[in-house]
Amino acid sequence: MPGITREEVAYLARLARLELKAEELDHFAGQLDDIIGAVARVSEVADQDVPPTSHPLPLTNVMRADEVRPSLTPEQALSGAPAQEQRRFKVPQILGED
């Protein structure tokens, strides 16, 4: 596999919503390259006829009865919010002005 470049790290950081600093881009490029180099051996089994396991338990959708139950109050749900207004989460601007 090709080495991980600084540009690739910058792209990954955008995808991951991390505003990395310039020096972090260099630092992580080297480290991620090392780690990926070390773990790439898993692809040695890729050609084999092996089904992937995503979870140690066979998962089934667990449903409960659709009935009203006690839950957090609006005040409790908002208690950790960085900003709130009119009993709602107040978020930064999402759309442009026009």
Partner: protein, 507 residues
């Protein structure tokens, strides 16, 4: 019972009691829960500045819980098996009204409005929660150096790591700040700290203990479990927290194995014990291998049959883990977006929501968390998915098959818990791959979902630091860990003349 229960006035004697002894003394009226709690709070006050096992001590809450136990007893109500016993809770479990940070700046000052199921079950069992313990940020790490609030010291040598990510929980036990603790184990974060602090740690079968209210790192691997200084104490705690939880859709709906009964009837006579070829070799400290070989000889003396096993896929476990865990973490940690709880940075009217999220995550996450988010984002990205994440999941299948084949031949598997003893703080801090090797022996179990325990098996001759013996059992056979663990523990204590922890330097 040790002599110390008779001299109830001494704090030193109280803090050295096991959880079982404390519970019995409270039930018999020889000690009050308040006395026990105060003794441990005093110990925390005296030594935690050096150890830094706790991020938050809930003095008032603990004393209120203790008073409630004493009142219950005064009313003649029956007390549970751990009523009044103090406990240190890893700061990854939500606690209503008490700060929960996950060792991260992202959640600094956050006060959850609800209890995790584990927290709720502890409270219902009248266990006294002393406070929240230090941990690697979001449980990512093997040394507790990644905590945003500073590292924890290993009570055996404060310049060394107490393991991770649950280093705070294990250090609290080893320094007598609490007789019980709770940890979580994604790749070894209960067993590995237990090993390097000379304590006992159990990763139950995946799904055996509810993950509701436990901040998620890697959902298909994370498992909460008990930490203690003795096998019996771990079993008593295991029974309190385990069992089906309708709030967690991955919780196993099966009866909890009879772990306490197993811990009270330790035996390996007639058992087949597997030793895996892949759990030794390069990177293993000589003293660790020596103590492990002695443990295998002891098992044989106690009547076990030793079976050599070959599990070739275990060689790929670390690689698979460092693709799967980061992939799941990159998804799980997307919820830390600075919008609904926790930190928010850059909300000055000039930045969009997306920019605020990116600035918040940059400021709130430490290096190891960022590294894993980036790694996971890479492994899951288009073009690389099949080569990395997809292949890692195939390795997971192969490891599960190796375990299945092994457990056709043996009842349990044993190995060293960690390849080395505790390393100095800072030694591996800037070398992620070196750090990741600490979990070499613990990771296969997380990938397959089965159960495992670490217990002390001696000190490495070269550095006089604790070595852990790992016992692995098939899924849902957690009781076997305790049966074997109790037998090994009893034999070692007889051989040494005292529990290993008594050799730890006093703080």
């Amino acid at each position: 019972m040790t002599d110390s229960t008779n001299t109830t006035s001494s704090n030193v004697d109280i803090i050295k009691l096991t959880a079982a002894e404390i519970a019995a003394a409270i039930a018999a009226g020889e000690l009050t829960a308040v006395e026990v709690t105060e003794a441990h709070l005093a110990r925390i006050g005296a030594v935690d500045e050096k150890v830094h096992a706790f991020l938050h001590v809930d003095r008032e809450g603990a004393l209120a819980q203790a008073r409630a136990v004493d009142e219950k007893r005064a009313r003649g109500e029956k007390l549970g098996p751990l009523a009044g016993v103090p406990l240190a809770l890893k700061d990854i479990f939500t606690t209503k009204g008490v700060p929960t940070t996950v060792g991260s700046k992202m959640l600094e000052g956050w006060i959850p409005p609800y209890d995790a199921t584990v927290t709720a079950r502890l409270k219902a069992a009248d266990v006294v929660i002393l406070g929240k313990t230090n941990m690697d940020e979001f449980a990512m790490g093997s040394s507790t150096e990644n905590s945003a609030y500073g590292p924890t010291g290993n009570p055996w040598d404060l310049s060394r790591v107490p393991g991770g990510s649950g280093g705070g929980s294990s250090a609290a036990l080893a320094s007598y700040q609490a007789p019980l603790a709770i940890g979580t184990d994604t790749g070894g974060s209960i067993r590995q700290p237990a090993s390097v602090t000379g304590t006992v740690g159990v990763k139950p079968t995946y799904g055996g203990v509810s993950r509701y209210g436990m901040v998620a790192f890697s959902s298909s691997l994370d498992q909460g479990g008990p930490c203690a200084r003795t096998v019996l104490d771990a079993a008593l705690l295991h029974e309190v927290i385990a069992g089906h939880d309708p709030l967690d859709s991955t919780s196993v709906d099966e009866p909890v194995p009879a772990v306490v009964e197993a811990a009270r009837n330790g035996s390996v006579d007639g058992m087949r014990v597997g030793v895996v070829k892949q759990f030794r070799g390069e990177g293993y400290q000589a003293g660790v291998v020596q103590r492990f070989d002695e443990s295998v000889a002891l098992l044989k003396e106690l009547g076990a049959e030793i079976v050599e096993l070959d599990c070739p896929s275990f060689d790929l476990a670390l690689s698979a883990y460092y693709l799967i865990a980061p992939s799941e973490c990159s998804s799980n940690l997307a919820r830390f977006d600075g919008l609904r709880y926790g930190l928010r940075i850059g909300d000055d009217g000039t930045h969009s929501a997306e920019e605020v999220t990116a600035l918040t995550r940059e400021a709130g996450f430490g290096d190891e968390v960022k590294r894993r988010i980036m790694l996971g984002t890479y492994a899951l990205s288009s073009g690389y998915y099949d080569a990395y994440y997809g292949s890692a999941q195939k390795v997971r299948t192969l490891i599960t098959r190796d375990f299945e084949k092994a457990f056709e031949q043996v009842d349990v598997i044993v190995s060293p818990t960690t390849p080395t003893t505790a390393f100095p703080i800072g030694e591996r801090a800037d070398d992620p791959m070196a750090m990741y090797l600490a979990d070499l022996c613990t990771i296969p179990t997380n990938l397959a979902g089965n159960a495992a325990m670490s217990l002390p098996c001696g000190l490495a001759p070269e550095d006089n630091l604790p070595v852990g013996l790992q016992i692995i059992a098939p899924a849902l056979k957690d009781d076997r860990l305790y049966k074997v663990g109790a037998a090994v523990e009893a034999a070692f204590v007889e051989r040494w003349g005292h529990p290993l922890i008594e050799e730890a330097p006093s703080l």
